[in-house]
């Protein structure tokens, strides 16, 4: 199974195994990664699963689609590598993915 590393805001690493087809957000919630709230449950209807994709992985994850970009307006300290983790689907391609959790969610 692909591995994902969540880097919490305090620098703690959470390395988790993720099933193909699940979302990065779901794996954060399942493994109780601090700082990912996912208030809307993955409907791309809030901005509380905001993460920064590690620079080395942005090509593979791609950028946000229009609806996600709209929702990112509500997030805190949005950066060029910002994504909503509920909108990133896990694939074998993403094995080793590193995402950082922001200081706070909106």
């Amino acid at each position: 199974m692909p591995k994902i590393t969540f880097v919490a805001h305090d620098g703690t690493n959470f390395e988790v195994e993720a099933e193909n087809g699940s979302t990065v957000m779901e794996n954060a919630i399942k493994n109780a990664v601090p700082g990912i709230e996912a208030e809307c449950g993955g409907a791309c209807a809030c901005a509380t699963c905001h993460v920064y994709v590690d620079d080395a992985w942005t090509d593979k994850t791609g950028g946000p689609e229009a609806m996600e970009e709209d929702m990112l307006d509500f997030a805190y300290d949005v950066q060029p590598t910002s994504r909503l983790s509920c909108q990133i689907k896990v694939t074998d391609e993403l094995d080793g993915l590193v995402v950082k959790v922001p200081e706070r969610q909106a």
Partner: protein, 345 residues
Amino acid sequence: MSDKTTPIAETDVVIVGAGPVGLFAVFELGLLDLKCHLIDILDRPGGQCAELYPEKPIYDIPAWPEISGQGLTDRLMEQIAPFDPVFHFNRMVAGVEKQNDGSFIVTTDENEKIQAKVVVIAAGGGSFQPKRPPVPGIEEYEDTSVFYSVRRTEEFKGHDLLIVGGGDSALDWTLNLLPLANSVTLLHRRDSFRAAPDSVNKMKALVEKGELSLQLGQVTGLNGSGGQVESATIKTSEGEMVDVKCTRILPFFGLTMKLGPIADWGLNLNENLISVDTEKFATNEPGIYAIGDINTYPGKLKLILSGFHEAALMAHAAKKHIDPDERIVFQYTTSSTKLQKKLGV
């Protein structure tokens, strides 16, 4: 409370929340001849289905392999139409007072009063309220310099306004308050707006004429003292930090759900959910019931279909509460001519 305002309406049941479960409760109560008024903070029915995911498919509604949030809402509205429910939109329930005869007076935040024999709380995740942007220390300025909605435009007259956001609320208020304000700066994260194209064009024309200032970036801090903001520190899209002078700030960061005043009604709560039994879905206050996502009991699943089941059982319990001596004959809509008459079929 000794407010003697005459109730604007009398009804059997007031339902707090017009989401799918509140709507279906109208049906179940209606079959038992109970009339309903519904109160909702949104301007239309559907609750989260309409506000959060109108276009998103739901796959676990029995007999609907796939239906959108809006589709489900429309169907429910069609289903309950024979019972003529009365809707009070854009209202929050401010208080519920028990009367000596066991009935309730429900007061809205606009001080309207509705008298009812039973109150059903179907408030889901709570009421939608403006989201507080995650700016450190913003609480200190709320309701003095920072406002999340415009109640009175006078409040902004002659001020240096900073309006934050890229949706319709931000753009509409930018255009509407510009003639009143001393100056207006519209701040948005990026040069692409969710608002109606017409408003965006109007805004851009005003920026070109130099009447309005448009800044791309994000607020990172507020400066001022004693609740009076003097400027906002902004990280521009180029990564520079700049201070924008302002005396009033209107951030539009979407909506979030809060339990709101229900927390103060004296109901037994468990982590902001209302404890009920699974026979009647009754709260600890006789005559007040709670159904759908807002309640909790052993084994609770926050599913729309669970809320529908809860609505049916609650309706029978509510009927018994209102008419303890009347025998309820259990009937099926398929075969009962009485029920079919009520449905107008």
